[in-house]
Amino acid sequence: MSVEVRNVTKTFGSFTALNSVNLKIESGELVALLGPSGSGKTTLLRTIAGLEFPDPGGAQVLFYGEDVTQIPASERKAGFAFQHYALFRHMSVFENIAFGLRVRPKTTRPPEAKIRVRVGELLKLIQLEPLAKRYPSQLSGGQRQRVALARALAVEPKVLLLDEPFGALDAKVRKDLRRWLRKLHDEIHITTLFVTHDQEEALEVADRVAILRDGKIEQIGTPEEIYDHPASPFVYDFLGNVNLFSGRVHDGKVVIGESHFAMPETAGETDSDAVAFVRPHDIRITRESGGQKTFPARVVRCNAAGPMANLELERLDGGGPFTVQLAKEEFQQLQLKAGEEIFVELKNVKIFPDDFSI
């Protein structure tokens, strides 16, 4: 266990940013903190770094079993990369990276020659050796982010904390850089925790993803676990587009409009309101009615730009609009046009009781 957070609560005035959060991160893991803005993910990261202190009352932050709750940021040996990089604007790239080594007390400070070697290695790692003498204002966003990472790594941190590492970059650089981060992590195996509000980023890069909502961890698991088995409607909704079908649950069956689905896990429940969650790509479209398995709908709009066709449909029984995603090939075979009436079948339906909120 390299980083552990126990029972951490943090309030700013009347706002509760973190509400008794518990989190364990294994040594060498790459974990994403995912959540909408205001969910407390950055506060949690800053608390681990020692830039914020949890409210008193049994809160603990542990690094490799050692209680660091009361230890200031400067002595925690955590590497932190800020959302807007926070590079020292009056220092060159080289001096930025060397900073953490130069400020060490005389007894532990490496000699100048060693500092040069270490910074050289890091510059090589981030592929910016020719830019060592540049100033931050002369770098692009992606280059600045890499310098910020190298600066954090220079002090050989016990844990690397990244706040929205790719948040301020454009889409292309973002994708390159997150693959680079994953590769970097696979090589140096440093325990890493990064904050993001982009579910695609979290699912692609992280070993495990923790989803935060209103200062609490809603669910934590591998990307596959949380995507396939979301613990709550919030997680389900946050991880991708979703259609909601309101209906009723009755003894192992879900009734939506005219159609019935067998739902064994709801056995025993009698006649309660429920909402069925279905991803747009888990809806099948047929020309023929499949009996009780299907229900009729009308095509409102088709958008076939890109690798998938996105359709907007409407239930004929007045149950509201929903979206469907089809492979381009299937879309072309069906020859769908706006205004046509077709039948839809739902797959991988997930039922949550009707008192949810997203």
Binding site: A49, G50, L51, P72, A73, S74, E75, R76, K77, A78, G79, F80, F82, H84, A86, L87, F88, R89, H90, F99, G100, V103, R104, L125, Q127, L128, P130, L131, R134, Y135, S137, Q138, L139, S140, G142, Q143, R151, A152, A154, V155, D176, L177, R179, W180, K183, L184, E187
Partner: protein, 297 residues
């Protein structure tokens, strides 16, 4: 104008030429009348009785004593206000605390109050009939003495450094300091290696303005000084005394020192502004180094 010339003439969005010339002309004439002419007349008047008299006035013991006192007063009040300004700006820009807005308003007080009143406050507090007057008159003379002049000058000049630094530090935020802390820097290391270099030019600018005001202050100092020649006379007060004793050439000679200081201040200020803009406006020139894919470690 031929048709071809009309087409080639640059398309103007602004006013016709005569309006622009008129506006520029008015501003230049105004400047000449109210700034350049008086400025030139100061030096002209000062040298009216020749260089000999000019330097004789400056070498006069009373003038020398006024110059010395002015330098002492500025030498004490500018460093103190420098420390106060950095501390106040740091507190306001980097921390959230109760009473922040009150502090911010109080810093502006000397700007909004007449300097005469600033002087009167000190007479009221430390004067012979003042609140602490009897205690101080036994131990240390404040009013009609150098300490009073220093206090009044500090009061009048304390917004300059703080006002210059607050917006600068607020714009810079605290993330660079946080980054330094996480990297293991102590509070002092963070201050000297990160904060001070970032505010350096703003600080110099504030100090220049603060110094100009400290040396040139008349109203507040006039109230607390008592105008004792050779003891509590600063340069501006000495100018007044010379002028009132019908030695107008002498008064202008001493005044030329202050005018010269103003010109130097102006030049320094322009240079600092230029340096500052140059640093802030460093052109954004990303350099494509990583021709190979970034994910290639």
């Amino acid at each position: 104008m031929t048709a071809a010339e009309k087409i080639n003439a640059p398309h103007r969005m602004s006013e016709p030429p005569f309006v622009r010339r008129l506006l520029i002309g008015i501003s230049l004439a105004f400047m000449a009348l109210f700034l350049v002419v008086p400025l030139a007349s100061v030096f002209a008047e000062a040298l009216k009785q020749g260089f000999g008299f000019y330097f004789q006035t400056l070498r006069d013991p009373m003038t020398v004593s006024a110059i010395k006192l002015t330098l002492i007063v500025a030498g004490i009040s500018v460093p103190l206000n420098c420390i106060f300004g950095v501390a106040a700006a740091w507190a306001i820009a980097k921390f959230d605390f109760r009473g922040k807005n009150i502090l911010l308003t109080l810093i502006d007080l000397p700007f909004s109050i007449s300097p005469v009143i600033s002087g009167m406050i000190y007479v009221l507090i430390f004067g012979a009939q003042g609140w602490f007057g009897s205690w101080f008159s036994d131990n240390m003379k404040i009013i009609f003495a150098v300490p009073g002049i220093v206090l009044a000058t500090i009061f009048v000049t304390f917004p300059f450094v703080a006002r210059e630094l607050i917006p600068l530090m607020q714009a810079q935020g605290r993330t660079e300091e946080e980054a330094a802390r996480v990297l293991g820097a102590s509070g002092w290391q963070t201050f000297w290696r990160v904060t001070i270099p970032n505010i350096k030019w703003g600080l110099i600018y504030g100090v220049i303005l603060c110094n100009a005001r400290a040396m040139g202050e008349f109203g507040a100092v006039s109230v607390v000084s008592g105008h004792i020649q050779g003891q509590t006379n600063t340069i501006p007060l000495h100018v007044q005394i010379l002028y009132e004793s019908n030695n107008s050439t002498g008064a202008f000679a001493v005044a030329s020192l202050l005018t010269f200081l103003a010109l130097v201040t102006l030049a320094l200020k322009t240079w600092v502004e230029y340096r500052n803009n140059e640093l802030r406006g460093t052109a954004f020139t990303p350099v494509p180094v990583a021709k190979k894919p970034v994910n290639n470690l």
